[in-house]
Symmetry: C2
Amino acid sequence: MKFSPFFLLVIAIVLSQSLFIIDAFKIPNRLNSISKSRDFKVKYFHQKVDHFSYSNNDTFEQRYLISTEHWQPDGPIWFYAGNEGDIFTFANNTGFMWDNAQDFHAMIIFMEHRYYGTSMPYGKKSLQNLSFSGYLTVEQALADYADFIADIKRTIVGAKKSPVIVIGGSYGGMLASWFRIKYPHLCVGALAASAPVLQFPGIYNCNGYSHIVTEDFKNYSPKCSQSIRQSWNAIRRIAKTDDGLKFLSNQFELCEQLTTQQLQSFIDWITDIWQTLPMIDYPNPSDFLAKLPAYPIKMVCQYLTEPDADDRQLIMNIAKGVSVYTNYSGNTECNQISENNDRLGISAWSFQACTEMVLPLCTNGVNDMFEPEPWIFNDFSDDCRERYAVGSERYKALIMFGGKHIGHTATNIIFSNGLRDPWSAGGILETLSDTLIAIKIPGACHHEDLRSQGPNDPKVLLKAREQELEIIRGWLQTYYNDNQIEFKF
Amino acid sequence: MKFSPFFLLVIAIVLSQSLFIIDAFKIPNRLNSISKSRDFKVKYFHQKVDHFSYSNNDTFEQRYLISTEHWQPDGPIWFYAGNEGDIFTFANNTGFMWDNAQDFHAMIIFMEHRYYGTSMPYGKKSLQNLSFSGYLTVEQALADYADFIADIKRTIVGAKKSPVIVIGGSYGGMLASWFRIKYPHLCVGALAASAPVLQFPGIYNCNGYSHIVTEDFKNYSPKCSQSIRQSWNAIRRIAKTDDGLKFLSNQFELCEQLTTQQLQSFIDWITDIWQTLPMIDYPNPSDFLAKLPAYPIKMVCQYLTEPDADDRQLIMNIAKGVSVYTNYSGNTECNQISENNDRLGISAWSFQACTEMVLPLCTNGVNDMFEPEPWIFNDFSDDCRERYAVGSERYKALIMFGGKHIGHTATNIIFSNGLRDPWSAGGILETLSDTLIAIKIPGACHHEDLRSQGPNDPKVLLKAREQELEIIRGWLQTYYNDNQIEFKF
């Protein structure tokens, strides 16, 4: 089996959001019209490269954003466990924290994950080879946060007794929940939004993601998912002639003329767009990944009403659907299908996804609308070894973090999932104990609850946020009571 | 402040037992007259050197002993978390497991700690310099055990559902409790015997150890501790003349004539013996560290009845007391006061005690019977840096394992402590919750409960072992019930 770039790409795009970091950073957050002011400082923490051995005693400067605007001594610290991207991306897209900090008199901290943004342990060489990139692991990232939190509590006057709430979305949600499990003495609870902590080999059906993607399109209209399902063979038939390749290039506004050799990449590129949209099918217009209307899939599906049209007509419709994603702004001149976003030559998240964060993802064409593509661990690992000189770890995430057994002794974790988010397939959807609470949000997408409140937010989403705040309030109250600290919020 | 070799030495001897590993291994265990047969195999596990980064992908062969003699499929696995020594030492001195495995149909495993015994990641070079020795950390050791346990459960037929109980004494007890905290999905509970998990900078009174040592002598007779207290000045007065040095050399049967320059080492050597005896003041004769009678301190104190005798008489008595430790067998020709036991040039435990396992130990001459010797973190760390090119970590053990906050979310740990054991000063002596149980054993010494039942064992010790077995039985029963597994024991 070939190493499908598509799988890694989807993971890279969907989970890492690494492609749209810069946009999110540059563009003023137009959606946060009701959000409160965002007054923060950018600081750096002197961090160990290796927390677990003494063979490498290098250090680096780890970036974090801190806002003490609403904080009062002994007040809580809301700590965002930065995930795979520039920390500003997460600060800009986690309005939940900014919206509610004042009510809790909370300090806000967003800490950048090692090997992302400016927090590169070895500067531009950081991802060059294993002697530099090798320290990019989940355990090191969690230990970064532990050392930092302990330091903050020692050094900020009035923070010694401040209870810490760890918050994160997507991979950041995994980090938040795992931090609570591994370092329960350093935080009182965690909000893990859209964290696919069960999406590991051996305990996860690799088709789960693609199935939800398909349902998301189908729920707007069965003809919509059916059109996509029929499109693959149509594309392959059309691509058999030079004229057909030209037709495809024109319809999809490709920057370069499509060749037979590129056909698979082309199909992967479209697949990738369909696999990505359900994550961000938000109720409010968004300019996060690209400028998008509210509920972009709904608009896509307005074009996909004729699954049984002839090949060229079907593909013309598909191309219109794709353009919702690629050119809703009207400013895109043409589309590049090649993977040209990886400016460092090796993407940090791809490295993580190849080594520890092995998240199986497959399609079968039966439960989903895609061409079948199996997921075979050994093949995946072999290809990773070829790319990074190190194979994939089949069991590590489960051995380290427990997988399905996460509930054995853990307490005080909220696992929230939007049920239209394809990553919810790997999430914890059932409450495990009195204090390990699953919050399912019908209709919501990828960590939608962490976004600022928007004008079109449905009631279930508002209610979920309220519930999360209520639970966090309870954890804090218990902490203050147990430690006989007078603190009103 | 000078770097007192005494402190490290005491830690090395007392906690690591590294000095008497070879004796314990070679000498048949005469005390275990009632223990059941010990039928086991020696095996090796292919282990990663570095679990937390990919910059070093070396592996090594980690030794373990396994006994399946009494085990039945689905039956429990009793896993001894090897500590700082050859694994046979612990297999030979943890008769509790051998005595009781049959009743539980338990598999017994003793796994050797990395960098001890034959489990050297880089052979003879392992402790040569930081690039080899740097992987000697607690986190790596715990991850060794995690990978191994996961592997055993995957590969031994019938072990997939076997509940694991982690057991350890001293530093091994710390490892056992921390393993349960960090990897609760891989074991159902831990028996942490004589584990000084609170003996870290910032939360521990460094005088605790020496105070209990002193009480142990005083409880046999106040004149006994008073004699030792008076002896230091007497030694220093006598040592002022050549004749006095000769007298001391003769009385203590030193192999080499004592010099003025060696006076401090000589005092440290005696101090070390007094600091060590209370750990092993067992009710049965022992030939563990040296051939010793039952209750050796009692015999020492029979000589120390005249604290106010003149200097020479007092020292003659002290020398007789020392000889209980150094020459009860009558076979010792002469005594070496120099630290000549460190055959590797760098002791693995000293490295651990210098880096992560920083256990403050001081004397003040007020609450204890020793010459005052303060413990100052920065001085300690500076000296460690000089020896190992890496300083001490003031906060790491607390950040990693929680210190006093160990009880926040942990469950199913027994913390047992013999109350005459000086290490109990750093142990958990009060029950923290329904499932974090402190068992205090009046009169018992260092992990005496883990030793085989002996003819003189007092009732409180027998009762403590029974209580431990009862609690373990309860954990197992709960596991079998929760998982609907039929298993009778």
